[in-house]
Symmetry: D2
Subunit: 183 residues, 4 copies
């Protein structure tokens, strides 16, 4: 049984995470739109394409892949009424004082700095774009964990983008200075 | 020098923290008003008095007292241009990618659950009440740390209140059930 | 269906959490022994009874109750092979780079200050007492989440105790001073 | 005053952070040795050179650079008795229940996942290598913040290395499979 002790390959984990998001109705472009809305005020020339790339980069991280798998698993089990009580009722009704969904999502947000954490909090309250759609429960759907996870990915991708844009600005500035000195 | 090795009494730390807030223009009632604005939609009969009590309870905690002392100290030193470079410039200009202010504030928010963390993020972006006033820098004032600390106290007091209100509801319910059974 | 929308009573959640711990082989006294081992070096007169009280106080908190329910649910489902792949394999083998177990446990540790967080990290590496027993998997048992949760409860109870002991010392000191002044 | 509004260039912040560490007696190789001690049991062929590279990569991050600047500034000000009371006494004596040092350090540890957090807690208790040296205060030196910051860098670099090693293993495996298929 040597194969069992070998960890699951990260490519398989990555594919499973993206696939689960799609199955639950969340496309990368949906998340990228939230990122665009968050960052556009600070970067007038921002394109959606850049936001999509940032979301994809965030989805490469093990921490967020694992959170996606765990969170969606619990949502789906709650939908199928397969959890034991009282957890079944707590997750099914998205109890106001239940915080494990935010905690799990926060775990991967931290990876992008304290600014990502405040963005996460903001998104979690404002329910922008696809998060609003997930929060408006239809029938027996359960998205208790998924809406926080989407906020987490969007907050991480926004923070990542803000850091990258600064890096690019600094690089452009240096290149300009070098030209000035050469000229 | 035995006295030096004895820790500072918590009463002194508590008084110093509240005093520093006042010196920097933040009254407990200002923070309580943010708490009121956050919690009133969920509790129709909420009174400002209850919010003041919750803010006072949060200010009893060592974690937040220490954060207040450290944060305000750094703001004041930056105001007096007494920090070394490049930290002086970073704090003085409240640099967008500087995150130590949020990190320090988050440390005490965590004490009130993951829901307090999302409320903190929301307040940090929305700049409600006194936070708005602090954020609108007049002259050479520096409030880089203070605005996050005020958000932290307000978020903690809001979360504390939400938990208390649930506890009271449950107690009232039980008392009603006992009366029904007795009747 | 009004009853469904009413949140589960906190007493039921508390009982369920303690019951689940017992079912999985963890008694309050086991956790209290870890607390004793952590705090005894700093408090020569510490009694196990005080540690038990501290563990019980920590178990009163919603944040930790919810983490216990979620964590044990995932362990049990993994044991029964009821999770979807690749999550089933990741949890079953307690994958080294899987961090959702630590993240979930950390969520409730934060409630007891940053010192609780460092104690958690220490316990998580040292595997003291019952944590060692849980980590030594027998047969098909899965304790991927439970060992972190036990570390979390022990770290929180240790930190809570450290703060209480300081409070008592200060109170004793004041009482002595009052007597000295009166005498 | 346009120059004032332009953020400090990240190269200057990076240089300042590394320079401050050196000034306070901490070399990159000192931190790399802690990383080596943490990771060597899991990677028999690990070289110190690889650990140095990992520490250097961690020091490229704004979050840790800022934490270094803030933490060392407070240590130095406390050493010079330039902080206001009671903060001066609290930091000077490295008060047991003061947690802002851990909080500040944790802010950048989070960036490397929850496993980095547990490693941080472990290092913070065990006081390995240079951390031990810093903790053994000589004369009027204050290292209240610095020892936690060193633990933070070491924990982050260890976690980063663990993830990299897994990536390399997976890449090697794939390359082997490709050869097997080609052969």
């Amino acid at each position: 049984m040597q194969q069992n002790s070998k960890p699951v390959h990260s490519k398989i984990v990555h594919q499973a995470a993206v696939h689960k998001l799609l199955e639950r109705g969340v496309e990368i472009a949906d998340i990228a739109e939230i990122v665009y809305e968050m960052q556009a005020p600070y970067s007038p020339n921002l394109e959606l394409k850049t936001c999509i790339e940032s979301v994809e980069a965030v989805l490469e991280k093990r921490e967020i892949q694992h959170a996606i798998l765990v969170g969606i698993e619990l949502d789906v089990l709650a939908e199928k009424k397969l959890l034991s009580e009282p957890l079944q009722s707590i997750i099914e009704t998205d109890e106001g004082l239940f915080g494990c969904d935010e905690t799990l999502a926060l775990g991967s947000v931290f990876g992008y700095g304290s600014i990502a954490v405040t963005t996460f909090g903001h998104l979690d309250k404002q329910k922008i774009g696809v998060v609003q759609k997930l929060d408006t429960k239809i029938g027996s759907q359960v998205h208790t964990f998924l809406d926080d996870i989407v906020c987490s990915i969007a907050a991480s991708a926004s923070s990542r983008l803000a850091h990258r844009i600064r890096d690019l600005e600094e690089a452009a500035e240096e290149s300009q200075q070098n030209q000035d000195q050469a000229g």
